[in-house]
């Protein structure tokens, strides 16, 4: 089993009309054993930028702490929040710093840029950015997620429809992956509010 599959994870982000949604599963496992069913993979950097980290849970936690630290420093120096594109570049740089001993995570970054334009991207564990206009996925269930998102996605969805779409895509994908699942955690972010919802899926 690869070290990326040690804890099990699934993260997906989708773009809507002036909004975005980012969702993850909730399982924390140690190979075949499930330890917890309420593990948080998506973290808020600030009101308009979220990062979901899949991969090895210890590096998810370490990397999150480092990124929050760097963003707080940025806020002190620049007296403003980071734009999502800038944050993505920061994550990429931090990951590449460890090129020959990497953090074993694949981040998914989603944010609202200037003019409330949604931005999503993902990268591999050494910081190779992959921008997309529609959706990005990562984790042990990524192949199922690609298929589900491709089938269910359509452009310019409003917040409620986007929530339904990303939830169905996530739940149907993790149901085919034994290492991820046990519910879902969905954030739908519009320029005015952040809606956090827990999904109940197949609890196996």
């Amino acid at each position: 089993m690869s070290i990326f599959e040690y804890n099990g994870s699934a993260v997906v982000a989708m773009v809507g009309k002036n909004c975005f949604a980012i969702a993850s599963d909730r399982r924390l496992g140690v190979q075949l054993q499930t330890i917890a069913t309420d593990f948080k993979r998506i973290s808020k950097i600030h009101d308009r930028v979220f990062i979901g980290l899949s991969g090895l849970a210890t590096d998810v936690q370490t990397l999150y702490q480092r990124l929050v630290f760097r963003h707080k420093l940025y806020q002190l120096r620049e007296e403003r929040d980071m734009k999502p594109e800038t944050f993505a570049s920061l994550v990429s740089a931090i990951l590449y710093e460890k090129r020959f001993g990497p953090y074993l995570c694949q981040p998914v970054i989603a944010g609202l840029g200037d003019d409330d334009k949604p931005f999503i991207c993902t990268m591999d564990s050494i910081g190779a950015k992959e921008l997309a206009k529609d959706f990005v996925v990562s984790g042990t269930a990524s192949e199922s997620l690609y298929g589900a998102c491709e089938a269910m996605y359509k452009p310019d969805m409003e917040a409620e429809e986007l929530f339904e779409t990303i939830s169905q895509a996530l739940l149907s994908s993790v149901d085919r992956d034994c290492l991820s699942g046990w519910g879902g955690h969905v954030y739908v972010v519009t320029p005015t509010e952040v809606k956090e919802r827990i999904l109940k899926g197949r609890m196996d």
Partner: protein, 204 residues
């Protein structure tokens, strides 16, 4: 073969650990106390490489005391757990400790809590947790019978059920267990569950 498990009840947390000190096929002693008190209201139950287990838990204990001396206030359980995770994470890519930890504590504001910290520094707050081969039996037993508002008597019954399961189903089951509890009155030893005791030899 080391079994460590714990659960949180109504205003208390209980941890149980086996008490065998094993070296290859030899059982050095069968009354080794693997649950250390960090301070008056915290317990750390550790399993793993014996040298690392003792050295690392003592290191954490001394640093928790140092904080209290310097600042005049004890650390909260969450803070102590995060400190422990930080030390494990820093050492992970240099000189890793092979110690799995269940940290139980009681704080006035937060109540009783249990933290699962595995040897690669994955931290998670849990209601019930377990490490080792015994976890396959104790986690399932706890999943079946656990409720969040258990009394001490009910929790001890559950712990005994887990110990019985481990003793009857694990091929090289440890003979003895120690059970410790932490609640508003502090951390203390609750009971030993012995099947094999050291026999003092008669004078020749």
């Amino acid at each position: 073969m080391e079994c460590v498990f714990g659960l949180v009840g109504n205003g208390f947390a209980i941890v149980a650990a086996d008490s065998s000190a094993v070296h290859s096929i030899l059982l050095h002693k069968n009354n080794e106390d693997k649950i250390m008190a960090l301070d008056s209201h915290k317990l750390i139950a550790a399993s793993g490489e014996p040298g690392d287990r003792v050295q690392f838990t003592e290191y954490v204990q001394k640093n928790v005391s140092l904080y209290q001396f310097r600042n005049g206030l004890p650390l909260t359980t969450a803070a102590a757990a995060n400190f422990t995770r930080g030390e494990l994470a820093t050492a992970l890519r240099k000189n890793p400790y092979s110690v799995n930890i269940l940290m139980a504590g009681y704080d006035k504001e937060a109540g009783a809590s249990l933290y699962y910290i595995d040897y690669i520094a994955t931290l998670h707050k849990v209601d019930k947790g377990a490490f080792g081969y015994g976890s396959y039996f104790s986690l399932s037993t706890m999943d079946r019978h656990y409720r969040s508002d258990m009394t001490v008597e009910e929790a001890i019954e559950l712990v005994d059920q887990c110990i019985l399961e481990i003793r009857s189903r694990l091929v090289i089951a440890p003979p003895n267990f120690v059970i410790k509890i932490v609640d508003k009155d502090g951390a203390r030893e609750y009971a030993w569950r012995m099947t094999v005791q050291d026999v003092t030899t008669a004078a020749v």
